[in-house]
């Protein structure tokens, strides 16, 4: 944590309200995000308990599983989830724009231009917290290797249609969430923590209710008080006033409310199954519906507060103006979405259980580039982030006090003007250190020449001045201009390009890909 963040936290402690960590919004927010608040069964992997989902905050769709150990009921839930998510995702798949990009012609090996489709916008999924992102990934893993009847008529427990497809999409979203700066799948807590510092530790900031309490406390209440209430206040029945944002439930809820309701449901269902005649079965059927309704009601009470908190978090983040380079990162997200759409349409198999060496190396390299790019872009978009870089000597702001024209000593002299620059910052400059500034959104570079006196330095401008002997108009700063220079590059070029999989030597390729498509082993009772 930088000193500036530490100060922001301490200011929040003092004032009892969160203090800003950013002056613009650094994440894309879709106009119609799909919010998902999932719940899972304690102790079980991949046994969802329920979910609130939807793009309309007034009308979330409630999905529940009355008995999470029943495979049929779980499958019914997953089918409903697919029904809620897939149409939303697919709606974005057909609205495309054509983009030109460079490619290599397969036959001649020449560089050519080709036109490809890029989805005009991408669907965005928002969950309450990081545990929610992990759960999306887990759900994806649990579904993408399932087989439907169509795929495998002999499958012992065929999954409903669309469930494997949903698994592939959730896997893609879960994987994309690991790319720094990506906004396809966001956690509400991450969204808030990026833009505000609270007076509590980053561990406590993972609690969505407590986090909102600091950022948006009620009138006349301090953030600390409100956060404590969100964390620990219980009603007379011992239930948390602000239930956990999931997917894990509160043990007190499980033990006192949910377990008895599930037991009642089981009892009625046994009676119903044992019923002798139609009339008896019908009456038990009615009882069963009542028992199920009770479970739905209970689960709704646990998810609804979180549902509203996530939307509140979205509202708060929307109040900030969007950073200038957010759209650029969102374009990458659109590419990612389009690429996966193409893979699904081409009928490619689901993502393998484990990436092979080549894919893993590519992913790692692209995430490193994305991280560096995110850091640079956030600093350029936001003076408060830039302040952190200035403090660490990676950027400096000041005023041009003099400009002296000079030229390079080659046959065709190119302009290399010398700028005298005054700054109070203390950048870590060495001889010929390159520095960059943003000129009409493009980086212009200069190199450090020498210090004149303390706080006054000389820079030599080195590019973006046109081909002529005299620099193009507006490309050289004038006396009195205030400029922010950075020591880091604005556009991150990834490292050297990795060879194609076919060209990768066997020493670096890892073992050949294995049974990517084989379904998971299934036992008659897959839960205990």
């Amino acid at each position: 944590m930088s000193l500036i963040t530490t100060l922001a936290r301490l200011e929040a402690v003092e004032s009892g309200r969160a203090s800003p960590l950013a002056t613009v919004r650094h994440r894309q927010l879709s106009e119609h995000p799909l919010v998902l608040v999932p719940l899972t069964t304690a102790g079980e992997a991949g046994a969802p308990l329920g979910a609130l989902i939807g793009t309309d905050r007034q009308q979330p769709r409630l999905l529940t599983v009355a008995q999470p150990r029943d495979r049929e009921l779980r499958f019914a839930f997953l089918a409903e989830l697919a029904d809620a998510v897939l149409p939303y995702l697919e709606a974005y798949g057909d609205d495309v724009e054509l983009v030109e990009r460079n490619a290599t012609d397969a036959e001649s090996g020449k560089r050519i231009k080709e036109e490809v489709e890029l989805c005009a916008d991408a669907p965005q999924l928002i969950v309450p917290g990081r545990a929610g992102i992990d759960f999306v990934r887990l759900l994806g893993r649990s579904m993408r290797f399932r087989r439907t009847v169509e795929q495998d008529p002999d499958a012992a427990y065929p999954a409903p249609p669309h469930v494997p497809l949903l698994g592939r999409w959730l896997t893609h979203y879960g994987e994309r969430a690991r790319v720094p700066g990506s906004s396809l799948l966001l956690a509400a807590t991450d969204l808030l923590n990026r833009h505000w510092a609270t007076g509590q530790s980053s561990l406590e900031d993972q609690h969505l209710g407590a986090l909102l309490a600091w950022i948006d406390p009620a009138e006349g209440e301090s953030g600390a008080q409100a956060a404590l209430r969100a964390e620990s206040y219980r009603d007379p029945r011992g239930q948390l006033v602000c239930p956990p944002a999931g997917p894990a439930t509160d043990p007190a809820f499980d033990n006192r409310l949910l377990a008895p309701a599930v037991e009642a449901y089981d009892r009625v269902r046994q009676r119903w199954q044992a019923a002798q005649d139609g009339d008896e079965a019908d009456s038990w059927m009615g009882e069963l519906a009542i028992a199920e309704r009770e479970i739905r009601r209970l689960l709704r009470t646990q998810m609804e507060p979180t549902w509203h908190s996530v939307w509140r978090a979205i509202d708060l983040a929307r109040e900030l103006p969007e950073g200038a380079r957010v759209a650029d990162r969102w374009t990458r997200d659109r590419w990612s979405f389009t690429a996966h759409r193409d893979r699904v349409r081409a009928g490619e198999p689901p993502q393998p259980r484990r990436d092979d060496a080549v894919t893993a190396a590519r992913k790692l390299a692209s995430r490193e580039t994305a991280q560096a790019q995110l850091e640079a872009q956030e600093a350029l978009d936001d003076p408060l982030v830039l302040a952190g870089r200035r403090l660490s000597g990676e950027a400096f702001i000041g005023e041009v006090t003099d400009v002296v024209m000079a030229w390079s000593e080659s046959k065709r002299p190119a302009p290399r003007p010398l700028l005298t620059f005054h700054t109070d910052d203390r950048p870590h400059l060495g001889e010929r250190t390159k520095v960059y500034r943003s000129l009409d959104g493009k980086p212009q570079s200069a190199e450090f020449v020498r210090y004149e006196t303390d706080g006054v330095l000389v820079l030599r401008l080195t590019d973006r001045m046109g081909r002529a002997k005299d620099p193009a108009e507006g490309s050289v700063p004038e006396k009195g201009d205030r400029i922010a220079w950075t020591l880091f590059e604005h556009d991150q070029r990834g490292g050297p390009k990795l060879p194609d999989p076919e060209e990768t030597p066997w020493t670096h390729g890892g073992p050949p890909g294995t049974d990517a498509e084989s379904p998971d082993l299934i036992t008659p009772e897959d839960l205990l």
Binding site: P68, R353, R390
Partner: protein, 349 residues
């Protein structure tokens, strides 16, 4: 100290691992050493914490453990890589009281080592002295190899998906298992030909099924950390000696008395405590009242030099206090100026 009516709460491996993670906390060492029910104490002080386990998770954990140990231990031996454990011994370890059970376990371990046969000890009892008070530990199972090697088996119900499990959960399991290994080593020291394996067998459900799968986890690192931290723990008697006369944690006493007694022992609160200690809310409230900056995270202390309270840091940053020649103070002032300038430029406030 815990009051005459209260039964002592025994220390378990989880508590020991938590204690070893924060060895500077005298409050926790004393309360655990004296067997005080910290959850009830925190509730009496008005800062209760949620505790307990969901019965769904509890049932699943028990059912999974039973499944792993079913079939006379054959399944467990298969996970250990022993296809045909002929003559596998399953000694009966029941005895009266924890002391009796610990003695019975030690005897069974000795017999098994001498017999040079595969032996599975189901829920053995181990004794370990921590900071001058005894702790009783109950690992899920211990396997004795014919060559005299003892292996701790830890059965957990979180899944191993595609042969990898949640790193945080594996870490917690490894720390817990290290405590068992430590306790076993004491028994092994008194047994000829015995040796405790420095890696444990972690058994988890495979993927989304209820089939067990296992992985050998090397706990040497956790073992050396735990050993060092436990030896660093101040002896409980020494802490108790610093208590004022008549201080007691008897839950029958009034809240004010308890509060005074608790506050007379120093605590070392950090946010990690929230996940590991029932007293965390109480200690956090106290740390916040004092303005202690470690309540915001342990890492903060490093960059702030000698400044330990929030108000001191803010005063130094605003130039109201502190020596500007102190590099920490100078850096703070620069940071404050840069932050204020940036916020002003952006038109906030």
């Amino acid at each position: 100290m815990r009051g005459p009516a209260a039964r002592p709460r025994p220390l378990d491996a989880r508590a020991l691992a938590a204690l070893a993670a924060n060895p500077g906390c005298k409050r926790r060492a004393l309360l655990d050493g004296a067997g005080v029910d910290k959850g009830a104490l925190a509730a009496a002080l008005g800062s209760p914490m949620a505790s307990g386990q969901s019965q769904f998770a509890f049932m699943r954990g028990n059912a999974f453990e039973a499944r792993v140990k079913s079939d006379g231990g054959a399944e467990l031996m298969r996970l250990l890589g022993v296809a045909d454990p002929t003559g596998l011994q399953l000694p009966d370890l029941s005895a009266a009281g924890p002391d009796g059970r610990a003695a019975r376990t030690a005897l069974a371990l000795r017999e098994a080592t001498t017999a040079k046969e595969w032996t599975l000890l189901d829920h053995p009892m181990l004794a370990l002295e921590v900071a001058g008070s005894p702790a009783y530990l109950e690992p899920d199972a211990v396997v004795v190899h014919p060559d005299g090697q003892w292996t701790v088996v830890e059965i957990k119900s979180f899944p191993m998906i595609d042969a990898s499990a949640d790193a945080a959960k594996v870490g917690a399991a490894a720390r817990q298992a290290a405590v068992y290994v430590l306790a076993l080593e004491q028994v092994a020291a008194r047994t000829e030909g015995a040796q405790v394996a420095q890696s444990v067998l972690l058994v988890c459900p495979k993927d989304f099924s209820n089939l067990p799968t296992a992985s050998v986890v090397d706990v040497r690192k956790q073992l050396s950390v735990t050993r060092r931290q436990l030896s660093r723990l101040t002896r409980v008697e020494d802490i108790a000696a610093t208590l004022p006369q008549g201080a007691t944690f008897d839950l029958e006493r009034s809240g004010d008395e308890l509060m005074a007694a608790v506050d007379s022992v120093s605590a070392a609160y950090a946010p990690d405590c929230l996940a590991a200690c029932e007293m965390a809310f109480h200690c956090r409230a106290a740390a916040r009242t004092d303005g202690d900056i470690s309540a915001l995270g342990r890492s903060l202390r490093g960059e702030l030099g000698g400044l330990t309270t929030g108000s001191a840091v803010l005063a130094a940053a605003r130039g109201e206090a502190g020596d500007p020649r102190d590099p920490a103070v100078a850096a703070l002032r620069r940071a404050a100026a840069l932050r204020a300038g940036a916020l002003e430029a952006a038109g906030c406030r």
